[in-house]
Amino acid sequence: MIEMKDIRKSFGSNHVLRGLNLSIPKGTSMVIIGGSGTGKSIALKCILGLVHQDSGTITVDGKDASKGDRDAFLARFGMLFQGGALFDSLPVWQNVAFRLLRGSLKRPHEEARAIAIEKLRRVGLKEDVADRLPAELSGGMQKRVGLARAIAAEPEIIFFDEPTTGLDPIMSGVINELIREIVVEMGATAMTITHDMTSVRAIADNIAMLHEGVIQWTGPVSEMDQSGNPYLEQFIQGKAEGPIEAVR
């Protein structure tokens, strides 16, 4: 269970998070939706400690995320970044097996490579991709490599930051299916940030609508269309008129 209580974060006069409260039960898939610049990525980075909140507490399975052994804490997480964030100088398999080649999860070289190739297969990539550099791959393939890296060490919690941004609808569908399959088969807790409603319906168990630094609505994806929440309705229907200003 991940719990965020009264999280506040400002950058100068820009108050991005203004008391965010959110619970993500273990083994469920939570999707956070909201417009650009509403603080979705910041919320996610606060959990990982990449950004430090000004106030509020974050607990993972009841333990304060900012305390204790940081390596052990991070070893529980996998993350797919929006742009892939693959390391340009390393071949694909070393990107996937990055965590398995160093640190507390270090494995023998051959074993790490075998795991990387198996994970690449899991996301629909052939073995011949393993020795290529990330720059030689298409955007969709880079996302899949990023996904393979996120699941390589079989984490308990996986974060997906805009997993389908910049992909064509077919590739988006493939990535959405992969995410859903992986989350279900690994029994992982997932947290996804997106503004792609197709992704929301494909990936989510629960959704949370973030606007003006607070969660405006949260609930099961099955209740999303009948929420009666004006923010969520405007967002789902993509209307210019409503409580969310079109010009931000």
Partner: protein, 257 residues
Amino acid sequence: MKPFALLGRAVLAALAMIGRIALFAVDAVSHMLRPPFYGREFLSALMNIGWLSLPVVGLTAVFTGGALALQIYAGGSRFNAEAVVPQIVAVGVVRELGPVMVGLMIAARVTSSIAAEIGTMKVTEQIDALVTLSTHPMKYLTVPRVLAGLIVVPGLVAVGDIIGVFGGYAVATGTLGFNPAAYIRNTVDFLEPLDVISSLTKGAFFGFAATLMGCYHGMHSGRGAMGVGRATKTAVEGAAVLILAANFVLTGVFFTL
């Protein structure tokens, strides 16, 4: 009042940056002493900073040594002191020109590439990805590069010194009519161990400063192509100024105190 306010603001900003760089340097050194160590990244940095810088260092040194010989010969001939070319070339190259030229070449070649590489990693979230993969960016990115700079640049300075002196030798014996054996004897006899020690010490400091500035500005790069470009420019400017200022201080420490 406004000009004073602007000046004060600029001075405070400069002092704050110096403070941040000093803290970054202390942090980098403290991480050098604590595991984990990334041997492969260190070897890669050694290769990039040392081996791949040899051509530019060699070319710079040979032309500088040759030009110095011509200048000393032309200047010395005004008061019948042409014979001091070997000694002045040796002292000038080993004490000053060798380390400074190598330091500036490293600032141009290595500082810029480190700042651009790390800056790009920052804006494409690769540094965030490192953190989520339980890898400390300071240990993985900064320590290998700074340690490699500290170790390999004195070697480059030694190579630059030898090639610079050879450049002077080639010009002096080839076009100015100096006897080759006498030139070498005069050079060797005139140089003292302190000259070489000061040269290598400067090299170590310049290597540390050049790589540190690249890492610092890369890690603190702004967003987008403009942010990376600005970080790269600031890193090279900072490294060059730091190298020249440190050269002045180290020369004072070695030869006047």
